[in-house]
Symmetry: C2
Subunit: 438 residues, 2 copies
């Protein structure tokens, strides 16, 4: 077996074209399939960018090369030095005739999961052997689209004056309420895993950073068992000062629109691999008030009183009506966290918004309370003790500017972009109630 | 007190210039200082980009505006509509005469920490009130440089064909050995916080992603009490297939060099604020073998046998000799983790490297073992049970390509870029043995 030594890949499979006739190339990847006839072998080599066919005629290659080619097994890792030979009969107008084949690693057989199989195994088997599952071009396409989205989102933030921050995931207390937290033993102390960077983002506003973003893990110990929740997720968070909820929605529209546009432009091959109809949305999304959403749900026979959070049935009814991307604004104050700013004229309604895609919530945001007294009042009203909030509350005493922000679920956004129904399809190693490995 | 309403900032302080004479601007920020004489008040307004002086002459402004200006307190949050008036006497060739001042939030007094103070408080007081500490221009400069570094690093990875991945931070078992882990209660199970994405990055190589990177939190329950360790850190991780340790070092040189270059180009103001001598290094860094490092240390009177890890004293001796950025290569196999590839010709030495800055290690990397049998042997040799490695080991059975990678400490890299001595200066909310808040 060879080490990599002095060979380096000169081209990915999809970079080789007929115009390179007679040129020598070095290709590296996996044996996707092998067909050995008497005096001829065909090997499909797979790398990250696609597949390419090697043609190995006994008369035209060395005896050693022919022997190696014949004995190749599925998913062996190989490096091939070969010559591009233009050929009108070949699928892409050329074939590769190997000069030398080096087997870098042999694969065991049978495979627990075959990347070349057209019909995939069930999701649990696939996740158990995720390293084999992600060799499938469709799965790689999903994760390339996800990576393109993350890149695009950061570009939009950077282009709009946001500074990237890293806030701690180990926190001392369960301050935000509502969501269950995972406890950790932190030396002699008890600590928790952060359920969101919310309080830290707000402290950054008191710190004068003006506009910040963070893309990082959040952890929620909720006992869900659905296709759209995980216990560890990646959240795209931002906060901006001297701004209201409409400013935050403007940025969110840019973030989402640019992601679609960049994927359409830079990941056209992956969209084709997925076989989806990928449409870039309009730059502005429809805004629906919560009250209008309730009316739509009621009109479709879903029982819901003003002031209740939207049930799954209500989300479904509204999603069916609206389709695509739309905002729900002007939520009842009682349905939102303590840090959400109520309207001055009617404090039963607050400056919160959700961004929905059909029936799925992908972002939650709001103008926040920046007034100390109101914040303390809200915390107390929710049955929590303001004294537990430490420096967070102190940040409101010494010059907190008005501010707004949102948290966009990266995994859910990836689901929508890839048009997948199960969030586990868009997360490499999902964590749920049952699954903690691999 | 005003809400933000229809006013929006038109300019940051540093965007206003004398050429804008007679133009109306809206500025927003904090009262950095206030000096009220009889019929004249001077207010220094501070925002993220700097400070700007408002001149408030009683005769030229409304009575209300003059009264508001006189009563401003330090760190009040204000929005100011004003006119730019070119003036040869003024520091930057202009002054701002307010038309209207809106106080958005009053600050309490006295401040636990004054952002306008020249002499900063001790680090613990500063971290306790971090939101006030980060209002100081020097502190903001450090974090803007850090954000620029993160942006630059991602650009380098993207430009070199790396795909961004997110790997889980909740892991089932303590597989990597050596480092202490934080335990979590994960529903009925015990889980741990990931100490590095190492095993996941390698599974991505088996998955054919070819080149991946991740910038995310890592957690280590080590009982350090130093100026260069934290228990929660941000790690810049990459892994590349069909590559050896020299390929990984090439990418690392690009990552580090480009960060310096981008900061020099885009953060010149912040470098000036810090008052540091910021030099972009050469594109290639000196490579020193471990044996040469031992000789240097011995030559300076530090006792160290070949095969021992470098002690602090040895690192200091070598750092003094080398200065700046340099690699240490060809480490004794025994000093490195089980997944490090030994040399074929002499397996007592392995294909590992560290990137050092003077006496500080900022990156650890290597070509990895990609051969199943050797990996199992190494795991056993270190007294661990291969059966505990589950899918990780399985990934080596079905076609693992040769690969290499590194982990670069983002917080340490930020320290070096900002020329700080304590890692806590470059982390917004550090986590150490003692500190879990804010």
């Amino acid at each position: 077996m060879y080490s990599i030594q002095d060979w380096r890949r000169t081209h990915y499979s999809k970079e080789v074209v007929a115009e390179m006739n007679e040129q020598e190339v070095v290709l590296m990847g996996w044996v996707h399939s092998i067909r050995a006839l008497g005096k001829l072998a065909f090997v499909i080599l797979r790398d990250r960018e696609g597949t390419i066919q090697l043609v190995v005629p006994k008369q035209k290659v060395s005896e050693e090369t022919f022997e190696i080619a014949k004995k190749l097994g599925k998913e062996d890792v190989v490096a091939v030095k070969g010559k591009v030979v233009a050929s009108e009969k070949a699928p892409n107008g050329f074939e590769i005739i190997p000069i030398e084949i080096r087997v870098l690693t042999k694969s065991n057989a049978p495979l627990p999961l075959d990347p070349a199989e057209k019909v995939p195994a069930d999701i649990d088997t696939r996740l158990d052997h995720r390293f084999l599952d992600i060799r499938r071009p469709k799965i790689q396409a999903l994760f390339k689209i996800r990576a393109e989205m993350l890149k695009s989102v950061r570009n939009t933030f950077n282009d709009n004056g946001f500074i990237e921050v890293n806030t701690p995931k180990l926190v001392a207390s369960a301050t935000e309420g509502g969501t269950e937290l995972f406890p950790i033993s932190y030396f002699e102390k008890e600590a928790f895993l952060g359920q969101s960077p919310q309080l830290y983002k707000q402290m950054m506003m008191a710190g004068g950073f003006d506009r910040v973003f963070e893309i990082a893990q959040i952890f929620r110990a909720e006992e869900h068992n659905t296709r759209r929740h995980l216990n560890e997720a990646v959240s795209i968070d931002m906060e901006m000062s001297f701004s209201d909820e409409y400013d935050a929605m403007d940025i969110l529209e840019k973030v989402v629109y640019n992601s679609y546009k960049d994927i359409a432009e830079n990941r056209a091959d992956e969209i084709e691999t997925l076989g989806i109809n990928f449409e870039v949305p309009d730059k502005k999304f429809t805004k629906l008030t919560y009250s209008e959403a309730v009316d739509i749900a009621n009109g479709k026979g879903v029982e819901l009183e003003w002031g209740e959070d939207l049930s799954r049935a209500a989300e479904k009814a509204v999603g069916d009506e609206m389709g695509g991307l739309y905002f729900i604004t002007e939520w009842p104050t009682i349905t939102r966290p303590f840090y959400t700013m109520p309207y001055e004229k009617d404090n039963k309604i607050c400056k919160a918004f959700d961004l929905m895609y059909k029936e799925l919530e992908i972002t939650s945001g709001a103008q926040r309370v920046h007034k100390y007294d109101l914040l303390v009042e809200n915390i107390s009203k929710m049955g929590m003790n303001p004294e537990g909030f430490g420096t967070y509350l102190e940040a409101f005493e010494y010059g907190m500017p008005p501010h707004a922000g949102f948290g966009l679920g990266a995994d859910r956004f990836a689901m929508i972009l890839g048009q997948e129904e199960n969030i586990r399809e868009c997360v490499l190693f999902p964590r749920d109630r049952q699954r903690l490995t691999p």
